[in-house]
């Protein structure tokens, strides 16, 4: 019989949610490049797809930050864990701010010509999107760095989210103290 797991608690959602911004926001620039390379008429739909990816990805950063803070309260700290967690949290906040700005810029880039009823030109569908990608690279670097520090917490320091609330033998298999790699 098909069995469904219980709905995870807010903090336990973090390991699931974090993959959304990473995937969506690293795929979005590919759509921008394709949209910029094609003719204005053909490229527009790719740019709109990129915008949707960017907006959904940015929204998922907000959820990732909130669930991450909830999960962080359950994480036992050694000096090494505390340092990486602080970096991870700080980078996540910066990533959130940068992608919020990038979303507004890209939204304006696509909607302003449409609101002005101006026809698509190489400037609006190629030059400006490619210039936008230069700004985007800063956000992508921050995102990757944030993800890397999150990965270090899990894979280097053994920090785990409490995925289940039920009494479980799984916890017994975890290290009681997270190893300190200082």
């Amino acid at each position: 019989m098909l069995q469904f797991s219980a709905i995870p608690s807010w903090d336990a959602l973090h390991p699931l949610i974090i993959h959304f911004p990473i995937a969506l926001l690293l795929i979005a620039p590919i759509f921008i490049v394709v949209g910029a390379v094609l003719t204005p008429a053909k490229g527009r739909s790719y740019l709109i797809a990129a915008m949707v990816l960017l907006l959904v990805g940015t929204a998922s950063i907000f959820v990732a930050v909130e669930t991450g803070e909830a999960a962080g309260k359950l994480a036992e700290r050694t000096p090494g864990v505390a340092r990486v967690l602080e970096t991870h949290e700080s980078l996540a906040e910066r990533t959130q701010a940068v992608f919020s700005v990038l979303s507004v810029i890209f939204l304006a880039l696509l909607t302003v010509p449409w609101l002005l009823k101006a026809s698509d030109t190489r400037l609006t569908t190629t030059i400006l999107p490619l210039a936008f990608l230069v700004l985007y690279s800063a956000g992508a670097l921050l995102l990757v760095n944030t993800a890397h520090n999150g990965g270090r917490l899990v894979h280097e320091f053994g920090v785990r989210a409490m995925v289940t609330s039920a009494p479980s033998d799984a916890n017994a298999a975890l290290p009681m103290e997270t190893p300190d790699r200082d």
């Binding site: 309260k73 359950l74 036992e76 700290r77 949290e89 409490m162 009494p167 916890n171 975890l174």
Partner: protein, 204 residues
């Protein structure tokens, strides 16, 4: 026959499992009660120690004791919330604090915080994790982090006690959510619970 054998098996398993589950739930509740009692007593003890430090002209140490007392009050309140959530009633037996010289009081406080950091809370956390009680894990974990900071601050005070004679009151900042205690607000969010630094309370 087959049905009755099956029922007997289920009943046997239930009889084995139920006391274990009940015992596990009681254990974390007991730990929370022990934590609540310990934190409530520490709150009263540190306030008495602060008064003594003031009398002996250790203004900075008195401020530290008052800040730690505030933090212990936060921990007790956090433990109490979880106790109530689990259907219990928070109970503390406040003992009359034994107050000695400020040096001895600092050493006693350091010993108490070190015990909580190294022995008591790690064991409580292990138990709460085994039971999958995330509320208990959170309150124990936040308390453990703050106790680590207290131990550091007490240790520094013990090592510099001679210099602190005649010192004035010093500003400490206590997170009203987790009890994290610091003398410098050089962050935007509490490093332990990510609460905005605006929610820190100044204690001096």
């Amino acid at each position: 026959m087959k049905k009755s054998a099956y029922s007997a098996l289920v009943l046997t398993l239930a009889l084995i499992a139920l006391p274990n589950v009940a015992m596990a739930a009681t254990k974390t509740l007991d730990n929370l009660q022990a934590g609540f009692n310990g934190e409530s007593n520490a709150h009263a003890r540190y306030l008495a120690f602060a008064e003594k430090a003031d009398q002996e002209s250790y203004g900075e140490v008195a401020s530290l004791f008052r800040a730690a007392a505030k933090a212990e009050e936060v921990h007790a309140a956090n433990h109490a919330v979880v106790i109530k959530k689990m259907g219990g009633t928070p109970q503390a037996k406040i003992e009359t604090p034994v107050v000695n010289s400020t040096k001895e009081n600092l050493e006693a406080a350091l010993k108490g915080e070190s015990y909580e950091r190294d022995t008591m809370y790690p064991e409580f956390l292990r138990q709460a994790r085994d039971e999958g009680n995330r509320d208990a894990v959170q309150t124990f974990n936040l308390a453990k982090m703050a106790e680590s900071e207290h131990a550091k601050l007490y240790s520094e005070a013990v090592n510099n006690l001679a210099k602190l004679k005649g010192s004035r009151a010093k500003d400490y900042f206590v997170c009203t959510v987790c009890g994290n205690t610091t003398s410098k607000l050089d962050f935007s969010k509490c490093p332990a619970c990510f609460t905005s630094k605006e929610k820190f309370e100044k204690v001096s």
